[in-house]
Symmetry: C2
Subunit: 204 residues, 2 copies
């Protein structure tokens, strides 16, 4: 995703190099020297943009978290337009989340592992953004329950079940495997909307 | 959970102390000295049972993984007995898994984080046991699909969705909160079996 924007590119180059290195070696093992080498810049150029390695980590987390929140907000807003069917709405929201999430592989690994290296106040900001995403999705589901589109399930349980299911794709879903991401999301949507129990033959 | 069995207790005491310390400080930050201090034993006694700190980590992982596998096997076997209803079967399996999993908090954290500190061959053994658990559950669901109890959902997607939903309880479920674990599991079972879409009024 090169932007061709050379003026602001150093900032982006540092982040890209750091993302790759954190993903490959872990935050703790990657040095600022390796980051500047891979980005092809001087240490001075790096320190112009970031105070230290932790600030790079924090910026990566912030960007990914904001992208997740923004994309979910858009998908939910689009789903509120009249005329959409429930299945299509859920599909759009979950696909948007899964796409953003899988694209930000490094963020996923960081959330599970490297977030411990952030100072408490920075860690709190990232975790609060995660929470905001949970609240967005739960609010959307609560609206569907209020309007009688969904039965009165527990919205917290459904929200966390959906989010965990999407996050888990990171561990098992591989592009080029037997199912496309769209097919997996369709399965998930149908599972959460219509369940898995076979329809019962009418009694009597 | 003191056993009162003093003869074999050193082994168990080391594991308990290490579990606590790994959970509190992370594997890397916990020293063998802290483990022996907390267990109230000598270094010599520790090295009689374990070659090094990694072997303690490995033993903790093995025990938890074997307990998860064993309990799921039992719950699945019990579900195969005649006369059980689908809801009750699923409930028993998921509750058993969730209980075992939440009990082994340290194992959860290790699987997400400290497993990287195991040598490749040891890591492989633990990950293979995780896989065995996935296979057990998927095999059970495939049986239900074959017998027409479940509609032909994708068993892989359903298996990972269920497992991720149970694992995620670690992040949000708290004892003493608004829902008991049994209530949460009931919600999850109903969500995965019957979905969340409100029944449609008959057309016409």
């Amino acid at each position: 995703m090169g932007t061709g924007n050379t003026a602001g590119d150093t900032f982006g180059q540092i982040l890209e190099a750091a993302k790759e290195l954190f993903y490959e070696k872990g935050y703790e093992n990657a040095t600022t020297r390796e980051i500047t080498d891979r980005a092809g810049i001087t240490k001075a150029a790096m320190y112009y943009h970031f105070r230290n390695k932790q600030e790079i980590l924090y910026t990566i987390c912030l960007q990914a978290a904001d992208e997740l929140i923004g994309n979910m907000r858009e998908a939910i807003a689009a789903s509120r337009e009249p005329g959409g069917d429930l299945r299509g709405q859920m599909r759009r929201i979950l696909l948007s989340y899964a796409n953003t999430y899988l694209k930000n592989k490094i963020f996923n690994k960081i959330l599970l592992h490297d977030i411990e290296y952030l100072d408490e106040d920075k860690k709190r900001v990232i975790l609060d953004k995660e929470k905001e995403n949970v609240h967005q999705l739960r609010g959307f589901l609560e609206g569907l329950i209020e309007r009688g589109v969904l039965r009165p399930v527990n919205p917290t349980v459904m929200t966390f079940s959906l989010i965990s299911t999407l996050h888990w794709l990171f561990f098992w879903y591989r592009e080029g495997g037997p199912l496309t991401l769209e097919q997996v999301i369709d399965e998930i949507v149908d599972l959460f909307l219509f369940g898995s129990a076979a329809p019962q033959p009418p009694a009597g």
